[in-house]
């Protein structure tokens, strides 16, 4: 489809450019000019940005179709302006075999919505014992390897896994959480958990594990992306690791830059998340670090959970919240609070995650893939769970008044969503 997008406000996070202009698309790519467009989209009043790239969105297939399906979550992705997403390997069975990865990619491709980048399991069945066939998995389409939220307690295995991944240059994505210190915990170990009588996960469960990971990065040279930072202490460790020029990057989820343990209120199971919501001080440090660049990007950590999984006492409720459709408005809310230019805000969900994912740069320049999001940054959005396309309706942001509505999403030059 030859497209002409006119009258838009073009925001290119990679260069910081922000201004009115027209954009042309041909054969799935952005082109300099176009003679005879088949379709012209009037983007008056809209921002035209590279499509959003989400480093963590669970699609729940295979195995958890009762929580969500590929169809429902891919609809949610494009409705949220997300044109590429990485999905963690904690499916059932986990993504530890090339056949599974291949099937997932084909299924996703046939839906013709967002691009899906599977993260392969680092160990067989995510059990933390035997390594997966990483080279085979990479060939099948895995862009990195991870344990998702399943802890890898055995540091010998972690060391070997990093060595092996480094041998082939595969990135490893890890959450930093000490399995023993976190054992049995369901909330941040602090004043709120003490009042509510909830077993705590101390903040140092993250820094202890992160220190181990960084030490192993020094030893192996493996490229490690640290997922879902939750503490001020971890931010400080990442700051030093980056100053040391270790090959590391990190992200934070949308919940953790906006919420803290006080939001648990009276045992709100929507706030049951992994990692747990931490203190106000931690939240502020995360928000600041994301602005300063110590944290590279923001992700939705989209985790659809069915109603039965949340209609339980807090500790028994399944962790996770829906997020794909809230990534943009919550990124905008964060950027506004930090008084950042729009291009800088959008960089955290476009050019930065593209760099970590190792895919084509998210740019508004000739030659770049025509993966675009057209959105109205000022359009009010009241978070209404029933209105979400995702099958997961649970979010601690239900009822929030946000701003930012996606009007059109384009993937590879095809308009895959319009509202």
């Amino acid at each position: 489809m030859r497209l002409h997008i006119k009258n838009g406000r073009l925001v290119d996070p990679a260069t910081g450019k922000d201004g009115p202009g027209d954009l042309y698309v041909d054969e799935g790519r952005i082109v300099e000019r176009l003679k005879s467009p088949e379709r012209t989209i009037d983007a008056k009043g809209l921002v035209v940005s590279p499509g959003f790239i989400d480093l963590s969105a669970r699609l729940r297939e295979p195995g958890y179709e009762y929580k969500a399906t590929l169809e429902s979550e891919m609809d949610a992705a494009v409705a949220g302006g997300v044109t590429s997403l990485a999905c963690p390997p904690d499916t059932d069975p986990p993504l530890d075999e090339p056949g599974l990865v291949d099937m997932l990619r084909r299924r996703a491709l046939s839906l013709e919505r967002a691009r899906v980048y599977p993260i392969g399991a680092l160990t067989m069945k995510l059990q933390g014992k035997a390594l997966t066939e990483m080279a085979e998995l990479a060939e099948a389409g895995c862009v990195a390897f991870s344990q998702a939220n399943v802890p890898l307690a055995d540091t010998q295995v972690l060391w070997r896994a990093l060595q092996y991944a480094a041998t082939f240059g595969f990135p490893v994505w890890l959450r930093a959480e000490d399995a023993w210190l976190a054992q049995g915990g369901v909330a941040h170990d602090g004043e709120v958990a003490t009042r509510l009588g909830l077993p705590g996960i101390p903040g140092f469960a993250e820094t202890v594990a992160l220190s181990t990971i960084l030490e192993l990065v020094r030893a192996t040279g493996a490229r490690v992306h640290v997922c879902r930072l939750s503490t001020a202490g971890a931010v400080e460790l990442m700051r030093r690791a980056k100053a040391e020029r270790l090959p590391v990057s990190c992200d934070v989820g949308i919940h953790h830059v906006h919420l803290c343990d006080r939001d648990l209120g009276y045992f709100d199971a929507n706030c049951r998340l992994e990692p747990p919501l931490r203190s106000q001080r931690d939240r502020d440090a995360l928000s600041r670090a994301l602005a300063e660049g110590t944290i590279d990007c923001l992700c939705s950590d989209h985790t659809p959970v069915d109603e039965d999984g949340k209609h339980l006492p807090f500790a028994e409720a399944e962790p996770g919240a829906t997020g794909l459709e809230l990534l943009l408005p919550l990124a905008l809310k964060w950027g506004q609070a930090r008084e950042l230019p729009l291009a800088a805000t959008l960089a955290r969900i476009t050019s930065e995650p593209a760099r970590i994912l190792g895919v084509a740069p998210a740019r508004l320049a000739p030659g770049a893939p025509a993966d675009l999001a057209l959105f109205d940054p000022a359009a009010p959005l009241r978070v209404t769970p029933e209105a979400l396309k995702s099958q997961g309706k649970n979010t601690p942001f239900a009822g929030y008044e946000l701003a930012g509505r996606v009007r059109a999403t384009i993937v590879g030059g095809a308009v895959v969503y319009e509202a």
């Binding site: 170990d189 602090g190 004043e191 958990a193 003490t194 009042r195 509510l196 009588g197 909830l198 077993p199 705590g200 101390p202 209120g265 009276y266 045992f267 199971a269 039965d308 209609h311 339980l312 006492p313 807090f314 500790a315 028994e316």
Partner: protein
Amino acid sequence: MLRDPQLNANGELQHLLSIEGLPREVLVQILDTAESFAGVTEREVKKVPLLRGKSVFNLFFEPSTRTRTTFEIAAKRLSADVINLNIAVSSQSKGESLLDTVANLSAMQADIFVVRHASSGAPFLIARHVKPHEHVINAGDGRHAHPTQGLLDLFTIRHYKKDFTRLTVAVIGDVLHSRVARSLIHGLTTLGAPEVRVIAPQTLLPSGVEALGVRVFHDMRAGLKDCDVVVMLRLQNERMGGALLPSAQEYFKSYGLTADKLHLARPDAIVMHPGPMNRGVEIDSTVADGPHSVILPQVTFGIAVRMAVMSIVAGN
């Protein structure tokens, strides 16, 4: 700020879920009402017709004898019909969800649910899903709260000491796992007790416990000094021999209440224990059965307090 889910729009007690957040007036109302019921329990005919025709469902998802029995007695003395459900061995093992169980009982025309559950916050979840005329009373949820126990402790303290605003109270033992301690501490701070102490090794204190308004002592002798009220907490056997405590013997040596240590408290100090006691682990028999002990009166007062709570919520 969210509205406290246990109060109705008029600020009256709709459910009793936690002592935390309850206004002083509500606490005093409950204690005063309990005072009026204390007489009933001493009469020959121990019944009043306040809850005649009402159904009280004792929903115990966790085993309990004492609390369930005192709720049952309290409900019967108010002339209510009492139905005891020991869910730990019925529907939950058949896979029925907590809310389905409650919905089914609600269809049987319940008025009051008395709930005990191993998970902190479970009564809040139930309270969010019951019908407007139904009331939920928390009979202990995880480590979070045991408000009727806290209230009977307050009632006992008021009975013997009259005025909260001059008291030094020590709560000793496994505060980390104790819903009794949390409820009592909130009650004491709300009623104006100027010094509430917790005495325990670090492994048995939750992090940031000072934020509850208590002073922390690790040395029991220092903590007991000049106390008016000494509250011992139960230490469960499964806490022993692991990473929390090395042995019952060593615990008793450092944190067990003996007559010798009790001398450090005020001469007229009272000793309380929520039961069941582990003699020789947290408390010596000479103290448990001694002149300072008010452990058995606590049990008696528990009935009047539970009558008060049930009659108040049912009337709102």
